[in-house]
Amino acid sequence: MKTRRLLPILPVLTLLAMLGPVVAGLYGTALPAFGHLPAAGLTGPSLNPFFELFDWAGLPRAVMLSLGVGVGATVIALTIVMLLTAGWSGTRAFRFLECLLSPLLSVPHAAAAFGLAFLITPSGWISRALSPAVTGWDRPPDLLIVQDPLGLTMMAGLVIKEVPFLLLITLAALGQADTTRSMAVAQALGYGRVTGWLKTVFPRVYAQIRLAVYVVLAYSMSVVDVAVILGPNTPPSLSVYIVRLMSDPDLAMRLQGAAAALLQLGLVIGALIIWRIGEVVVAALGLRWIMAGHRGKIDPVVGAFALLASGACAFAVVVGIVVLGVWSFAGFWSFPDFLPDQFTLRNWMRFGPNTLAALGETALIAGCVTLVALVLTIGCLEAEYRHGLTLSQRGMWLLYLPLLVPQTAFLPGLQTLMLNIGADVGRVPVMLAHLVFVLPYVFLSLADPFRAWDARMGTIANALGARPDRVLWAVRLPMLLRPILTAMAVGLSVSVGQYLATLLIGGGRVATLTTEAVALASGGDRRAIGVYGLMQTGAALVPFTLALIVPAIVWRNRKGLRHG
């Protein structure tokens, strides 16, 4: 009975938890962007912050970097995932990649970026493996690979992490897309694997993963940690520049930072609009392609390419983590030795105790935040189902605002807000800040599978005398076990990876694995980075593994509840 009264309030609570801080934060950003910052003795309105921003010689390149890297990484990652699923789903190779998915996903962006850097720099592991025998190098060549001005390495660093994310979301959506029968019909009509899948299944799958793709686009455009590790610095991408301006001791620089933050916001919105137009164009072209009836002669080539590309992504992350591991145990290790002179436990003795304390903090925050997010999300979706409290399409956009607004734009404003209401630094405010980012991801992961659930099951249960609460607990949630666990795993990993929110809102007093690792990163101590990167990966690995293993065990005798 309690649920019935509580349920309609949950959507309001959810929106409040996510949008309150964002709106307040944006308000706190918009004022200084237009020259109003009384604390610095400045009152607006004025357009000077924008003029100063446009005076910065690096702005065109920073903007192009943000756009190019964001759109490029999204297109590449989406293409790889779609072609891979088209060409290989249900095969042994696909199942192998599926097994790799949890470890791949659990690797935090920063750790994956470090791993990639340790692999591909001129003195990286690949170069060491080939030197001097193949390359003839007895010292590393002076090549600009990491931090290249076009941001190609940064794009690669994003792709290797977004491919597993999109693949996971795609897998969750596949269960609702009636793939098996569609493919049977398409192949009976003589269509190749890839072509048949793209023509029959892709439109349905894309409709389900669309918002995840938008999130990948927005994230890739405004990412900070990967950009700091792999991106260029002469000039840096717009987001990195914003973080720099915002942390300048000269308060006046915040005005320019706020203006840049609004510009970043505009860029993300613009890119999303362009992407939406692109969807329409692709749909129109796709329709003509379907009508043309090509059966797909080059399917094997395309499929092979997709497998190779996703294999390379997996290789980069997995071997990247291995090289982090090697560094964490390394004594002195000079170029071009393939392995260190000696292995030592010293690095772990030095950094281990601190990582354990940070791990506890990380787990506590991530666990609480994810549980709250899950309860709110399921509450919203159930309220929508029972009471028709559906968010309109426009309302859905509000839901994803925290993911589409660059963190750098509203977090400083959020910090001021929390101070004003007396919720000073500490664990709970950090959890609230994490919730802003975790909630949308959990919602995004769960909403489509939840809605795509066959409501006739509920009707049958009703007919058998079950009340709505019983239908939820006994039928719907158990059937949705896999997407629920997936959503939790995503929520946990999002919380584990939060850097700016933890640092700013925690006032530095809340030390998670990520804040500790990023603080070390600027010092370039590869042994310490190795230890923290491995710990970070471990913190997120367990939930993702459970998300795959538990449904397989629970539903081992329920064939229809396994995907695909």
């Binding site: 604390a39 590393p140 002195f332 950094f351 006032g507 600027s522 010092g523 101590d525």
Partner: protein
Amino acid sequence: MKHLAILAALIAPVSAFADPNPADWDAVKAEAAGQTVYWNAWGGSTTTNDFLAWVGSRVAEDYGVTLEHVKLTDTADAVTRVLAEKQAGEDDDGAIDMIWINGANFAAMKEADLLFGPYAEQLPNWAVVDVAGKTVQTDFTVPTDGYESPWAMAQVVFVHDTADMPNDIGSMAELLEWAQANPGRFSYPQPPDFLGTTFLKQVLVDILPDPSVLSAEVTDDNYAEVTAPLWAYLDELTPNLWREGKAYPATGTAMFPLIADDELDLSISFSPGAASTAIANFELPDTVRTFVLDKGTIGNASFVTIPYNSGSKAGAMVVANFLMSPEAQARAQDPAILGYGTVLDMEAITAEERAVFDGLELGIATLTPAELGTVQAEPHPSWATRLADDWADRYGVSQ
């Protein structure tokens, strides 16, 4: 900023109502027991982190003060935090109790009246600090006025791998010649990184016939003329830098792995003992040595300061005082631990305490105080800010 500073100066004496009185040390100690001090300090160096952890265990033992090291990537973050708290009216128990600071960050906080004090010169251990011989009462030419207390001395040294670069270099002009003969083997951290900006100042100090103009605040009239030789120098140097100057290491310690990988032969450091410590931690090959220029190199002191809104000022003062103790100073100077220069006057401490310092093994790559030679004064902080901005315009967006 100017208006704010004037306003702040007017209301300054009103604050510090219930603050502990640094002159009444027994009361300070009594109040400190049980307090938790959040020390915001750059966390990029694992050796420094280990040292800070040791300080924490010692002040807990002796004074019952709990020390938490908040690891920063950039000290400016802490300054921003205190500013944000002031805006929000959090005047009694801010998140930060102590900051490792110097230079422009100190100047900014002092100007905006964000600091507690004066306290430094009332601390008991101030009596053994080498006030005459070391620059502990000015910070980049800005008077400290007791608003920060020193805990380490730093001086620019050049770090080179003798396996690839056997000979020292005596001047910045020679460095340019060497770089032209050995392209791609030298780099410096990207300004506005602290050490990167220091490299710019070091070039300027070394190539100017008379660097005394740098000790006064920069003016629009003299800036272009004074710095012209620096930009001419960098125009020649940049194409010969590592990655042709299209990318730079993020920080000073980030250059150690590049030397270990044989990508760089030469880099700079602000800590004369850091190379020896890094060799001990497998981060540098044991062929690495250090040197200074013939005319000497820039040196300064590292300080700690206490924000005006710290809720644990007594605890922070106890930590600041402990940092200036012979025990902490000797440990910091040990290259196996940290390798930082001491701020103490060797004549003012007891013979026993002095023996600990004399007994320290400096490490194979560390220069003796005599070899470190003349310490060049830091330019006024206004120069650093302007050089870093100008550098960013010229080289930071060029590619």
